[in-house]
């Protein structure tokens, strides 16, 4: 399934008459990790949701290589605050597979496999909402990846996590990237962006302020605002 390239043309999202992001004109290619960065309130989350299709596009277009519906089918989303189904770890992992009609046996085998991979192999029957923050986020990540999406959105996945959990999650993301999964990651952790990203979208006040390859952007940002942001100044 080929989702990319995706092209945004004057894409805009608004709520209560106030523009949240946009208008955005942007094209994204089909490989690697894109880090979406910018100060708080720049519209990173809304931008991700707009692409994912859970934020309504109020004007402009988003055009995938395939149909929007197909594209949606091959995406998954990991939230900053993971939403745990009030079920066991195993059942959480099985849920997206069950939605797609995977037979129960096969789904459980896959779920066990994933649980082992994220270090929750001995907690299969634990209620997911009772896990620690790091365990929950790993579970959310595994649950998103279990259907093998072509594109995975991650919204500040490590914002509330300690170093160890962050490393574990980044390891999983590296592996996914190596296997060819496309990742779009919103983060305000510049270290993480440097470690993971191939290219960068820098958002400011709801608009794309600068884009480019990660290395170039971090070493030599083109705009003064991006430079100020990278140096830790307050950017409005």
């Amino acid at each position: 399934m080929t989702l990319f390239p995706v092209t945004l043309t004057a894409a805009r999202a608004q709520r209560h008459g106030k523009t949240l992001v946009g208008p955005i004109d942007l094209g994204l290619g089909g490989a690697g990790v894109t880090a979406v960065i910018g100060p708080n309130g720049a519209g990173k989350t809304t931008f991700l949701r707009l692409l994912h299709g859970t934020e309504r596009l109020c004007s402009g277009t988003i055009r995938w290589h395939c149909s929007t519906e197909e594209a949606r089918h091959h995406q998954a989303f990991v939230f900053q605050h993971p939403v745990m189904l009030r079920r066991t770890v195993l059942q959480n992992l099985c849920y997206p597979l069950a939605l797609r009609g995977t037979p129960r046996r096969a789904a459980e085998d896959q779920a066990r496999d994933w649980a082992a991979r994220i270090g929750l192999g001995d907690m299969l029957d634990r209620p997911a909402p009772m896990l620690s923050g790091g365990e929950r986020q790993k579970l959310a990540l595994a649950r998103a990846m279990i259907t093998d999406p072509a594109l995975l959105f991650l919204d500040e996945p490590c914002a509330a996590l300690d170093g160890r959990a962050t490393r574990e999650i980044e390891d999983i993301l590296h592996t996914a990237k190596a296997k060819g999964m496309r990742l779009i990651l919103a983060t305000h952790n510049m270290g993480q962006a440097r470690r993971l990203a191939d290219d960068v979208v820098f958002l400011l006040r709801g608009r794309v302020h600068e884009t480019g390859a990660a290395q170039g952007f971090f070493n030599q940002p083109a705009t003064p605002q991006a430079k100020a942001f990278l140096e830790g100044d307050i950017v409005e």
Binding site: T54, F79, V83, L85, R86, T88, P96, L99, P127, M130
Partner: protein, 234 residues
């Protein structure tokens, strides 16, 4: 005080000696209310989930209506059901008046709004929690409702138990549509009303204690059963 004590001892003896009349009306109480509860739950729980997830024009009106109907006076329900089922009423040909079925119908009408209202609140809260995830997973409306109902099952059990409590303790409506006929439609509550009318307070009270004990037992049993699922509490 004497009457209270008399009622307690009488209740004790009725239960210990397995009084056949008591057994009969207690079982009928359970049967009528059990069936009413099953039907009401099948109607009310999906309705509650539907109201929680679906935005439509008169949604708020329907919810407000359900909340208002929670306080529906059972006597009024009884009277309306009576008029509908009466031989001279629109459904008279069914011949259901003064049967347990008529009592079930009245109880269903009384507890559907109650169960739906309580269930709706829990499901709405869970839906707020699940909203982003389920929307992201692109679930269908049916999958959404099934997920919410399943994951809300403890709260829904509580809602149903509230309905059970209201139904089994109800007397006004089933007195009118059931007629309190001995060996046919007499249940614990109507028997209590009858004995009170006869001034036999001790027996009335004894039946009342049996009713209370029954309600407590059912509640305990269900909570114990649902906890043995070993899914922890959250």
């Amino acid at each position: 005080m004497d009457t209270l004590w008399g009622g307690l001892t009488k209740a004790f003896w009725l239960v210990v000696t397995r009084d056949s009349d008591l057994l009969e009306i207690a079982l009928r109480s359970l049967q009528v209310t059990g069936i009413a509860l099953a039907i009401a739950s099948v109607i009310a729980l999906p309705l509650a989930a539907f109201l929680a997830v679906r935005r439509f024009r008169y949604r708020r009106t329907v919810i407000a209506l359900l909340n208002a109907l929670m306080g529906l006076p059972p006597v009024v329900v009884g009277l309306i059901v009576y008029l509908l089922l009466s031989r001279s009423g629109p459904l008279g040909v069914l011949g259901l008046l003064f049967t347990p079925t008529a009592m079930v119908i009245a109880q269903v009408i009384i507890i559907v709004p109650l169960i739906a209202s309580i269930a709706h609140q829990s499901i709405r809260d869970l839906w707020q929690e699940y909203h982003d995830l389920l929307i992201s997973m692109n679930v269908t409306q049916g999958q959404k409702i099934r997920t919410l109902l399943w994951d809300c099952r403890r709260a829904l059990l509580t809602a149903s138990l509230a309905g059970f409590g209201r139904a089994i303790g109800e007397v006004g409506a089933i007195m009118i549509v059931g007629g309190n006929i001995d060996h046919a439609t007499r249940v614990l509550t109507t028997a209590i009303a009858l004995e009170t009318g006869k001034g036999d307070f001790a027996l009335a009270l004894a039946l009342g204690f049996v009713l209370i004990a029954l309600a407590i037992l059912i509640n305990l049993a269900i909570h114990v059963l649902s906890r043995t699922e070993r899914e922890g509490r959250w």
